[in-house]
Amino acid sequence: MRIKELKRTVNVCWSPAEHYPITLAAGSAAQQVDASFSSSSHLELYSLNLEDPGVDLELKSSLQTQHKFQKLVWSGAGVIVGGCDGGLLQFYSADKLLNNASDCLLGSSTKHNGHVSALDINPYQKNLLASGASDSEIYIWDLNNTSQPMAPGTRNQPYDHVQGLAWNQQVQHILGSTFATRCVVWDLRKNEPIMKLSDSQSRTRWRALAWHPSVATQLCIASEDDQVPVIQLWDLRLAASPLATLEGHNKGVMAVSWCRQDPDMLLSGGKDGRVLCWNPNNTKPGGEILSEISEQQQWVFEVSWCPRDPNLLSAASFDQHVAVHCLLGGARPDVSPAATSSIVESFGGAASFSQLPAVARAPAPAAAHHQPPTPPAWLKRPSAAKFAFGGKLLTFEKCPQEAGPQKLVYISQVVSEPEIV
């Protein structure tokens, strides 16, 4: 269910899990025009504003910036990093932004060439940032000292744009990177690539990637090629071919996000405007779609689970639209009103091209409810203790996975005041 939205073409990122309250950072997207054709750019912070039944997010702070953004990430170390055009990286203080201070910009670097469109924060060391740009350039930064970035190894040849970067979720010195034709996995301890994945069977064009939250050797890679709009699940131990291929998008897949609280849920967003939730661990042919979260008019270029609240996710699309959805809940039907493009309005609303070429659409699946068929892991209460009449206490508990499901319920007698009994 769509609960909040923002009518801007922006790159967004969630505040990290340890940050309270949940905040969304939005930076004007590079290479996009907005209604006024203004070239000004802003970095803005929004609170979710869940108190308010309306769909508007609450603007907390806004900063005019020199450059638009290709990608934003928010580190648990309190730094918001923006990747911009021309090899520029900008480092902002999240706290100062929230306080509307004037000196938010901590520093910047132009070490890269081309636009910096791949960024990721190490899940174990919050001050470690990986960035990728043109010519196969990848740098690892220490956010405490951004003067001397290091390379994870010699640049991968042939030189190509770095489409995506993702740190392994289990092993902190492993970094995955995607180029159009290959996925390269780096070991920072050895300072070299340890694995190169490429699918010789199909003509995939890789863009985004995401590591399995709990299985160190598995990752999903998404193909933005319209002919091969698939997500593939790979295991580095069987690097000859993918374990599974998730087929559901009608056009290229632009973004993936794997839920850290439930590895059975993977989000994807594509050029067909759809946001899908998959169970990537179901290796049946074609994959298992758990839920169709939404359908936009235009390309969805970014999707992301909220790190703090797994029930929330964001999806950004090119029709000046960022939506915050909630996975469960169906009180409000998710019918996004055919938003009249404000770009058209600035041309005087000329009727001749009032219709944007809408994305090709497959017949909508007959899913009456968007709720996944099985509940997400975080909804399942594993244990409880409940009092009953006569000082009896009922308990049951979570068992280790290998022991199978817990079957036992204990009834105990509590004697708290023996002198009375």
Partner: protein, 300 residues
């Protein structure tokens, strides 16, 4: 202090999510991710399966026994968006099915028996339903609180009838307003009061920094004070106290090592059982100085 009397192998094929003893402690109801509800007869250390109720098409989150003056009634709520009220008359059958929620129904609670046969239900769709059995027509009437908590309600509990309004003479408390407390995914606790045909938000209690997993209004046996316990994903348990059911004061009982999933008051309202994601169960009691002390810890 704690002695295990019975160990019941429920035979559920997936995780158990709730277990509750009936009023007399003779019947045990359990529910599970295997979509079933089971009822056991408990007698002096032995138990026999009395019923295996199949009617839900998703994990069953909670079961709740109605007061015995209404007969043997059990309510269950499930991820399949349904609430089922089961009745035993010879054998167990479905008495009523409530399908008014649009998402997982996470928690249910029967009102104090003095008010009649009333069940409160709360759902991931953010709303709360109060369904009342009308004796004269034999129908169930539904009142709804839409948008009670943004992005979902996790838990619900009734204010006991005896303490419903502490300023009123207990002998004439028939007129006392009904109250319920809910905990949600918006990290809030809300108190609702029935006012005419409506349920209105009377209070919102802010303290938790993550999902509120469980709330429990303490039974009150003549104490001039109301208490609510709440627990959260933020690993904390908070005790809320009030002298007038209007202004509430929080006390952090403890910050635990793991997510706290359930809080439960003893029937005398003086001991709180806390259960966490690390399988630890602890019992707490308020000392004379107002400090909460752990009087027992069970870790298996």
């Amino acid at each position: 202090m704690i002695t295990v009397l019975n160990t019941i192998d429920t035979g559920h094929e997936d995780m158990i999510h709730d277990a509750e003893l009936d009023y007399y402690g003779l019947k045990l109801a359990t529910c599970s991710s295997d979509n079933s509800v089971k009822i056991y007869d408990i007698k002096s250390g032995t138990q026999t399966l009395a019923a295996d109720l199949k009617g839900h098409f998703g994990p069953v989150w909670q079961v709740a026994w109605a007061h015995p003056k209404y007969g043997n009634l059990l309510a269950s709520c499930s991820y399949d968006r349904k609430v089922i009220i089961w009745k035993e008359s010879g054998e167990w059958t479905k008495l009523y099915e409530y399908t008014g929620h649009e998402s997982s129904v996470n928690s249910i609670a029967w009102a104090p028996a003095e008010y009649g046969l009333i069940l409160a239900c709360c759902s991931s769709d953010g709303s709360v339903s109060i369904i009342t059995y009308a004796q004269d027509t034999g129908n169930w009437e539904v009142k709804k609180i839409p948008g009670a908590h943004a992005i979902g309600v996790n838990s619900i509990s009734w204010c006991p009838a005896i303490s419903a309004d502490l300023n009123l003479d207990p002998l004439s408390n028939k007129e006392a307003p009904k109250r319920i407390v809910t905990g949600g995914c918006d990290n809030l606790i809300k108190i609702w009061r029935e006012q005419g045909e409506q349920w209105v938000e009377e209070n919102r209690l802010e303290m938790h920094m993550d999902w509120v997993r469980d709330v429990a209004w303490a039974p009150s046996l003549g104490l001039q004070r109301s208490m609510i316990a709440s627990c959260s994903q933020d690993k904390r348990v908070v005790i809320w106290t009030s002298d007038d059911n209007v202004s509430w004061t929080p006390t952090i009982l403890n910050t635990f090592d793991d997510v706290v999933w359930s809080v439960s008051w003893s029937l005398t309202g003086n001991i709180l059982a806390v259960s966490g994601g690390d399988n630890k169960v602890s019992l707490w009691r308020e000392g004379t100085d107002g400090q909460w002390l752990c009087i027992s810890e069970v870790a298996k």
